[in-house]
Symmetry: C2
Subunit: 423 residues, 2 copies
């Protein structure tokens, strides 16, 4: 890759010859228009045109995945739809060092082009000239580990449930049960932010009281990701309220606040930012449309996310394990330098049962492992819930089968009976 280019890779589906379709993409996203106009000179095209770097033809299908495609006029019989991977290179000069404008260049109107019955971004390679213009994670894996004092295993956490409706006092009461169990991390659900019945400043004060007391009694710091998602100015005020209350993490729904507000928060923030990706399914669930997380998350990571949700192996949602693992690996892969990696957050239907596969897939334990029902729903209570997760990860990291480890670990044994039977 030339240092003055950024490279995007796509999986497309098209009734056109792949080369022609690729050239249409490059033209649409740089110097093209639907009729020739004066001013589109050869020298302009050479300096500013996007470039087709590579095309790789994949399988053919007889039915288009997405409607709206107009096959070439010269095709007389039923068209076939070719899938292919296409790599385009864009001049950095076209956008400057601006992530929003990188997004417009690589995505923009492409999804709506009639050439395509499928178009999905599957890879993005940003040069240092763009990546280094953004601060990236302020705490990342190491900074987060330092806060909670956990070095050699995943950060074990839970989500406050029910998602909505608990008052600050109810929340604090639940948190006091949970911290007593040895959990490292607690987060709000994405559905509770700053509602009238549980304002951020009241909730964080109540929760941090519990966490402070717990620290004083045990020496153990628990991280609380307080959901501050809101309009920008309110979000910044919530951040300050969390700092004021002695809080140690803020959570943001990345897609609902958007890249600009998220990046602004990072530049003002003094706490780790826990990036929740709710809404992501709209951009990803159709396999031939939208984004792979390997591409999409880079924007929020460079903008400053310390923790990035990646779903979980055998999750309760519809994402494949393969996709989950690829996302988590991407979050741990440097873009410009090792300082810009973030901590992948595994959640959704997680219990000890997925620890071994998760560890094997990543080759490390630099992750958050969140369990809502898996902790709060343990038959013997939250303390047993947390204990069973730690036991599950001990087994995974030592390469001991779960069933075997459960013979000498009661909480794990109970969980195996309880969650194992349910799945």
């Amino acid at each position: 890759m030339a240092s003055d280019e950024f490279i995007a890779r796509y999986r497309i589906e098209t009734p056109y010859p792949v080369e022609e379709a690729a050239e249409a993409m490059a033209g649409e996203q740089s110097s093209g228009t639907f009729v020739d106009v004066p001013g589109e000179t050869d020298s302009l095209r050479e300096r500013h045109g996007a470039r087709v770097v590579d095309t790789t033809v994949l399988e053919e299908v007889s039915e288009p995945t997405l409607p709206g495609t107009t096959p070439p006029a010269d095709i007389e019989s039923s068209p076939t739809y070719r899938r292919a991977e296409v790599e385009l290179a864009f001049p950095v000069e076209n956008v400057g060092r601006s992530l929003p404008n990188v997004m417009t260049a690589i995505a923009g109107n492409l999804f709506e082009l009639r050439h395509f019955s499928g178009l999905r971004l599957i890879d993005l390679d940003l040069p240092a000239s763009i990546a280094d213009a953004y601060p990236g994670p302020q705490f990342g894996i190491n900074g987060t580990r330092e806060i909670v004092g956990v070095e050699d295993r995943p950060i074990i956490g839970t989500i406050i449930k029910p998602s909505v409706g608990l008052s600050p006092e109810d929340t604090a009461e639940l948190v006091s049960e949970v911290v007593a169990s040895g959990v490292d991390f607690i987060k709000d659900d994405e559905l509770i932010a700053n509602p009238p019945y549980s304002r951020v400043e009241d909730r964080v004060a109540a929760v941090m009281d519990v966490i402070d007391t717990h620290r004083e009694e045990t020496g153990k710091e628990v991280m609380y990701a307080c959901n501050i998602t809101d309009d920008l100015e309110s979000m910044l005020e919530h951040h300050d309220a969390v700092v004021e209350a002695g809080g140690n993490c803020v959570m943001v729904s990345m897609n609902t606040v958007g890249l600009g507000a998220f990046a602004k928060l990072r530049r003002e923030a003094s706490l780790p930012i826990h990036g929740h990706r709710n809404g992501w399914g709209a951009l990803s669930r159709c396999p031939q449309l939208g984004f792979d997380y390997e591409v999409y998350h880079q924007f929020f990571r460079l903008a400053g996310a310390d923790h990035l949700h990646v779903n979980g192996i055998r999750n309760k949602f519809c994402e494949s394990d393969e996709s989950v693992v690829a996302s988590a690996r991407a979050v741990q892969t440097p873009i410009s330098s090792s300082d810009d990696v973030a901590m992948p957050v595994f959640s959704s239907g997680q219990w000890a049962g997925q620890a071994s596969d998760t560890h094997e897939a990543l080759g490390n334990a630099d992750l958050m492992y969140l369990s809502g029902g898996g902790i709060l729903g343990h038959p013997d209570g939250p303390a047993a819930g947390v204990a069973h997760l730690k036991q599950g990860w001990e087994a995974a990291m030592e390469g001991i089968p779960l069933e075997e480890y459960a013979e000498t670990h009661e909480e794990l044994r109970v969980a195996l009976d309880h969650y194992g039977d349910r799945r």
Copy 2:
């Protein structure tokens, strides 16, 4: 609708009984978790639970649109997939008066639920308590009309092409050709924002010089939507640079800057905001996934968009005319009051040929009608390009067939030969 609720309507596709699927949606987006937990009491559910208002069963299909669904365990034969419309009501109390949190409530994780092989938001009804917490458009239809002095027809505009690569001086030279032709509105392409070869402050100064001279000579004000899309702070600086240069409009790529930064710009802005929706295809192109624009655009409109792109009839992209018309009508429909309507922007492959159908579909001419190649590519030059568009709209508004009107209008006749043959 109770004033303390917001209502979202979905089209779903599911192998589950529709009522059961609808209840799963309501539970997931309010008080549910995947195992029962203490604290999810009846009274909490009653106060905070989302409510299924209505379900309407539509057709059945034999193949799921989206992969990843897990059919009910008790189905022995091949499942069928029912499509249905589902309406849910959410307590305002769950989110407060916060659009980002409304988005998380109505969309959030729903797209990823295993119950669904399709889930799309098709309608949203927000109460005044939420809508009125946002400023909405600052200029809207009337304010925009006042600036350019056009009362009784669409605002005719064009897009500067080539999209990328023109220096400020080249841009200004092209603008001087275009303003001479009688156009009301000129916009940057979404692909040019603040690149090193054409900084916003330089470009807007060069362009406004031309527009100022034109005003002094003719009394005619031309609106120039300068693309200020960027990181938030840069975007605010660009806005101020546009004001400083005597500019009269800013353009923003809504999806790439995101809702939070867009809303912040509106609160600081003294100029109309032209909302470009590039990237929209990722959220909309699969008919069983994502959003209808009727839902999605409301967020940016309440946040403050004055102009909202809606594609165009017989556009060069793959969106149906039905969808384009529904979008444009929605943009003109009040959410809380008539002050919050915005101006729909028709573009993409537009020339006089779509004027009549566009006028008929909307029942008014309160719109922008943008033509890139249709003006700059007119065989007789930009002046003839603009003239043919005005003639096309005169014909449309007077109910005269285009061919007939062309008999006495040369520029329209040439355009009919030129663009008509190409289509």
